[in-house]
């Protein structure tokens, strides 16, 4: 199975791990989950749509990253997965 990851677990960053899947599934683990769960979900799905990726499983371990960081981590993780 192809897998890719990007980011770190330091404060204000996120570690994003992607692997091939059927359809899109996103799991989020965040220190600000109570406040920003939906926004993190939208950021990930928005980036997937922009990259035209339709079959993937994304795991986000978030330490308070802003949306642009999350998007960048998703994109790089996918690029690494695709090698």
């Amino acid at each position: 199975m192809k897998i890719g990851s990007a980011g770190t677990l330091t404060s204000n960053d996120a570690l994003v791990t992607v692997r091939e899947g059927v359809g899109i599934s996103v799991s989020i683990e965040s220190i600000v989950d109570a406040f920003f769960h939906d926004q993190i979900d939208w950021a990930v799905k928005g980036e997937l749509a922009r990259l035209n990726v339709r079959n993937i499983h994304v795991t986000v371990q978030d330490k308070g990253a802003l949306d642009f960081t999350i998007r960048a981590r998703v994109r790089t993780a996918i690029e690494r997965m695709e090698g």
Binding site: N12, F36, L66
Partner: protein, 504 residues
């Protein structure tokens, strides 16, 4: 349910907060003096045998050994062995080292807590609703008021004292567990029905004791009352973060800009990294201009000791020590004076508590709202992570109260419509300094006028909040709808807010 003047729901039977001006005169109950010399014992168990301890009693403690304290755990372990139930404990603060208390909440040994600050496993257990009665969270000055007025009656005070003499006199300045000022235990010493000193160093006679043995019933000598290295909390270093340094520089510029840095001023700052950086900047300005401060107060750190010894500060008024340099200075420098909790912050202390004599104070905030109300008690999910300590006392007393905080911490905007929990009323907060701008309380037109030409970036607090939202997005703000787990008691005895569990 009633609502207090800040619109917060307060349960029936409590006096709702109605403004920060304390209305009543000082009303101390009679002080107790023990006629005979104290009795010396060897174990906590001996003390329990000697005292007529019963279910439902209130035991008090102090927190001068901070994260190094062993006495609270030792005494409460004995209470559990004794099979006592339904006790209330009244420590001036609770730290992570007090984790062994958690099972005692579950088993009903402890059903009430009255404290000024709590952090760690005990705070988590209280938030989760494991304590039968709501905890009461006081300010440092408010705790002294509560004890002296009879609102917080104490059956037995178990007080860690680093050195005790044959007359029961004590001091915190010397001894293997020396922790410096013992300011917070003064009301307990004078007003508790029974007083037990717990020490790990006995001497024949103290030349200049801080604590009067005439109020002491029992002295118990054990191997160790604590680890004094635990006094130093993780935060007592000047920040190296550029954002924190920028905030500190601007806070010092605000204090200077409103004209407070003149000969004979007085100040207090917290021990957080940004507050320490503010002091470093103020110190530079003082040296440049040859200005000397009259006093600095509060939790004392090495930084203030250096300023005292360099002649920049005339005196240190010390209610607790945050590091070992401060502890040693207290026994070396005559101008480094220990003061009591009442002298420091009790709103009913006459002629006036020391906080009323402060020109400015620099404080932190976990949250601040559009009315400038500050929360340092819970996080934004309603979990108890701290408490006022001296926050509300100094904010009320000082002529100018400056709050320093990052605009955003780990994506969370610190400014919000309404804080999760009110610790300190916005009417006592004057200026908010963040890295992206400064907000002045609309009530302080005098400060606004003075800062107008200073070149500092001043804007309404709502615009600062909007700036934060533009960076982070607008967060969902969870509400807590469950039962009340803590009452936030303002320094005058009224209830300023409550903490609830997440769900009913």
């Amino acid at each position: 349910m009633n609502r207090n003047s800040l619109g917060r729901e307060i349960p029936d039977g409590f006096y709702p907060y109605d403004g920060s001006e304390p209305a009543q005169a000082r009303r101390p109950i009679a002080m107790k003096a023990t006629p005979k010399a104290p009795i010396f014992l060897h174990t906590i168990s001996d003390v329990f045998d000697a005292l007529d301890v019963k279910d439902g009693m209130t035991f008090s403690f102090h927190h001068h050994l901070r994260e190094g304290d062993k006495v609270l755990n030792l005494v409460m372990a004995q209470a559990a062995v004794y099979g006592l139930k339904d006790l209330t404990i009244a420590p001036s603060s609770i730290f992570p080292c007090h984790q062994p208390l958690v099972p005692l909440l579950d088993s009903g040994v402890v059903t009430g807590i009255v404290t000024n600050y709590m952090n760690g496993p005990v705070a988590d257990a209280v938030t989760a609703g494991k304590l039968q009665k709501p905890a009461v969270m006081d300010t440092h000055g408010g705790r002294a008021r509560a004890i002296e007025s009879g609102d917080l009656p104490i059956d037995v005070a178990f007080l860690a004292v680093p050195r005790v003499d044959a007359f029961g006199n004590g001091t915190g300045r010397f001894g293997k567990s020396a922790c410096g000022s013992l300011g917070y235990l003064d009301p307990d010493l004078h007003y508790a029905k029974k007083v037990v000193f717990v020490t790990d160093e006995r001497v024949d006679e103290l030349i200049k004791p801080d604590l009067d043995g005439r109020y002491v019933d029992y002295v118990v000598t054990i191997d160790s009352i604590g680890d004094r290295a635990g006094i130093v909390s993780g935060t007592t270093r000047i920040t190296k973060e550029p954002v924190g340094l920028k905030i500190a520089r601007d806070a010092a510029a605000v204090i200077d800009g409103v004209g407070l840095l003149k000969a004979g001023f007085s100040m207090q700052t917290g021990a957080g990294g940004t507050s320490l950086a503010v002091v470093a900047d103020i110190r530079k300005l003082m040296i440049e201009r040859g200005i000397r401060a009259r006093f600095a107060s509060g939790g004392i750190t090495a930084q203030y000791v250096e300023m005292l010894e360099a002649g920049l500060v005339g005196a240190l008024k010390d209610v607790q020590d945050f590091d070992l340099d401060a502890v040693e200075s207290l026994s070396r420098n005559p101008k480094h004076e220990a003061i009591t909790a009442s002298q420091y912050g009790n709103p009913r202390y006459r002629p006036a508590p020391l906080v009323d004599d402060l020109d400015f104070v620099v404080l932190g905030a976990t949250e601040i709202d559009l009315d400038f109300n500050v929360n340092v008690t819970t996080d934004s999910e309603g979990k108890i992570i701290g408490g006022s300590g001296g926050h509300a006392d100094t904010a009320h007393g000082a002529k100018v109260c400056v709050v320093v905080t990052n605009l955003v911490k780990a994506r969370l905007p610190i400014i919000m419509e309404k804080v999760t929990t009110v610790t300190t009323p916005g009417s006592d907060i004057d200026v908010l300094v963040t890295e992206r701008g400064i907000a002045v309380h609309p009530r302080r037109t005098d400060l606004f006028d003075r800062l107008r030409g200073s070149g500092l970036h001043i804007l309404p607090i709502r615009e600062l909040m909007d700036l934060a939202h533009a960076i982070t997005g607008i967060p969902v703000r969870p509400t807590q709808t469950g039962r009340i787990v803590a009452l936030i008691r303002y320094r005058d005895g009224s209830i300023i807010d409550v903490v609830r569990t997440k769900r009913p």
